[in-house]
Symmetry: C2
Subunit: 248 residues, 2 copies
């Protein structure tokens, strides 16, 4: 059933997919400009763009605002239960990682935060906004929300280093439990700018709430990931960072 002749969009998608799969177009390489591709496939920019958008949705290509289209990198495997040592996790996959602090300060918790963190209305929180780069590309924008009483003077520390490590070293804090939620959404405003994507681009949203060794809720993260940069990977039987399994 439904054996229509392939649309132009499909044909263009196929052609580019083949080039990428064959390795002729390697990760990070820039595609020809939209206008050149139009000529190549003898079509208009609108049609061509529909094809590029479909490939973007699949995660095969990505764009940088007004710079062009590029072949996507392999996804990073990410287990959100291991907030611990994010940087080590990346390094183990032989990828380069960098963290930049974008902003820090105090905010009044939003209603959503109050609910997620079980706070009284109008509670103040520390906020730390960071940008994560993998292989030189901004792949996730992260907002951390911390209970201030648990982290005195933390905003004066070097926050470009591992937060987990800072927690352990200066606040005697080890995670005992995490819960997280994941859902697809779209980039808007600041997130879009920071990740260098067009407003409305698909992103993967991860929110996480963390508890310390006494079971106290200590902080919450909002992570905005480029949708093509990550693969969530969880094993119910994997060794947990807080060691409820034997060490190998």
């Amino acid at each position: 059933m439904n054996d229509r002749p392939p649309t132009q969009i499909t044909q263009i998608r196929q052609a580019l997919t083949n080039q990428i799969d064959s390795g002729l177009l390697a990760p990070g390489m820039k595609l020809p400009s939209e206008r050149e591709l139009c000529e190549l496939f003898d079509t208009t920019r609108i049609t061509l763009k529909d094809a590029l958008l479909a490939l973007e949705a699949e995660g095969l290509i990505y764009r940088e605002e007004r710079r062009g289209w590029f072949v996507a990198y392999p996804r990073l495997n990410y287990n959100p239960l291991y907030r611990t040592y994010f940087q080590r996790m990346v390094t183990l996959q032989k990828r380069q990682v960098e963290t930049k602090v974008v902003a820090t300060g105090q905010v009044v918790a939003t209603p959503v935060l109050c609910k997620d963190m079980e706070l009284a209305p109008l509670t103040r929180l520390y906020q730390i906004c960071r940008l994560r780069y993998i292989d030189g590309r901004a792949v996730s924008y992260v907002e951390h929300f911390l209970k201030p009483e648990r982290f005195p003077n933390i905003l004066e520390r070097d926050l470009s280093k591992s937060l987990t490590q800072t927690y352990e070293q200066f606040y005697d804090l080890h995670f005992s439990r995490s819960r997280f939620e994941i859902y697809p959404s779209a980039a808007r405003g600041e997130v879009a700018q920071r990740l260098n994507v067009t407003a409305g681009s698909p992103i993967l949203m991860i929110t996480r709430v963390n508890y310390d060794q006494r079971g106290m809720l200590v902080d919450c993260d909002h992570e905005y990931w480029r949708h093509d940069a990550v693969r969530i990977s969880v094993d119910s039987q994997a060794e947990q960072p807080w060691g409820n399994e034997d060490q190998a």
Copy 2:
């Protein structure tokens, strides 16, 4: 910085977002046709469509092929570690659930399946394809791949019922462990048709591998979710279906 006047796309998006947030446009309601909206916002279909696509990416609206645009329903909360009793999980959230068997048969494992399921090349597997409906809407297309030796004659059973229950009842099988991966992708071919979405629409892909009470790998699922229909929700300390926590 960057205080451009809002684009038409942004304005249309805002206007529709407000209508939806205020509840004037309720879940399931059909939007006016694209041509009507064009007149309403005094613009062309291309521009209007860009705005609708952005809202679709956010998960606020969805479309059905050539039927129109609709206001999205709340997301289903889904914990992939609880493959157990999917139907009960949905019912607990006061949503209607239905499962339809689309196809069954035997297939030769693809290379990807061989790797995920640790199979020798060219191994045969049972395949069960099902479609899941929530509140009457097709929200996920699921392919189950079963090791045949573990499930004799299962294809002759009623597969529209809970697979978990069938496993327990007829094959003395209880899950002891699951691992899963999640990543955003795009719908193509059969998946797009089954879920009634345009080829290239964003979807959320979940693959899961399951082990029985003896730790043996028994089956694997490929789940294709409408990206706006689901929110993944995992708690490292939650009670597991196989009971490594006290029962409440």
